[in-house]
Symmetry: C2
Subunit: 185 residues, 2 copies
């Protein structure tokens, strides 16, 4: 007899083991993620991402850095060296909601066949530029449309999406006020 | 006589023209940024970023998509296919604070010689996993340390950093509650 061991590309045994370990020792769920960034010129700068702390230890699984470049389009004084920071934020949000959705689908035994999302967000750059003190320099609103095919009912998908939105780390970093401490070293 | 036309890699004339145009027509500062993302498997998914609306028109400066891949480390059930979404959020924050700092330094006539940042953020994954309803699934706090060398006083750098934190779009998307509307298409 063969046991099915993955769902939505996730190893079910590893999922259950992880949940069990955290239920036995909730402190294992404390993670510290990190990034380092260096300015290049104008609106171009580059981050390296590699190490993090989690599951009670420093991670050593990554043998090289991830490297990502921020840029700006010409209308924002750049040369399209990369997506710009507010676009990267949409990428982070898309990825987090997607992964959270897929994870909790797996936990409910729902198999996802297809999943893609489209996001847009409104910004008034009068805030960034300091031209209007009444404008929030951040996104005013972000909209995310999710297209999904799965082996369950529409109601189950709606329930899963509500649960996902309440559980996604990036979604809850955006929709709640999170303290950002910026200091000079 | 030669006129100096760039500061911190930014074209001064273009900066002044942009500010002037927005002061004359504040609606030019309304931008809509976008991303599309497709799930691959497990914690792996990929975004494409290209078009946006701004300065009163659809942008057409980009001749190809930017493509970024989210992944997860083994301890979070992945294979390090890319940085994970909460790490990308740190990259977005680092880039935005850096670009905002450099822009307003230029506006003040401050030349930046070197600028790099280190970020870390705390997350309790009991929130993501739904194991503790009292835990915010998002970052609990993000810390950013900025190392800068510039041709001005320490006091001017401190003033510039405070101003930057209040003006950075990503920083203000994180530290304020921003509505995220997630719907099924």
């Amino acid at each position: 007899m063969q046991t099915k061991t993955t769902i939505n590309g996730l190893n079910q045994q590893q999922m259950m083991d992880t949940i069990g370990a955290i239920q036995g020792n909730p402190g294992l769920a404390n993670f510290v993620f990190r990034a380092r960034n260096r300015w290049i010129s104008g609106g171009e700068n580059r981050s390296t991402i590699r190490d993090f702390y989690g599951a009670g230890a420093e991670d050593s699984s990554r043998t090289q850095d991830f490297v990502y470049t921020n840029g700006e389009p010409p209308v924002l004084l750049g040369s399209n060296e990369g997506a710009n920071p507010v676009e990267y934020l949409l990428h982070a949000l898309a990825g987090c909601v997607t992964t959270t959705f897929v994870l909790h689908a797996a936990a409910r035994g729902i198999e996802i066949q297809e999943l893609f999302t489209e996001l847009d967000g409104d910004i008034d750059l009068n805030g960034l530029l300091g031209l209007d003190e009444s404008v929030n320099p951040g996104y005013q609103q972000i909209r995310m449309r999710l297209h999904v095919k799965a082996d369950c009912s529409e109601q189950e998908l709606d329930d899963l999406l509500s649960y996902t939105q309440a559980r996604s780390p990036v979604c809850n970093t955006v929709c709640r006020p999170i303290p950002v401490q910026v200091t000079r070293a």
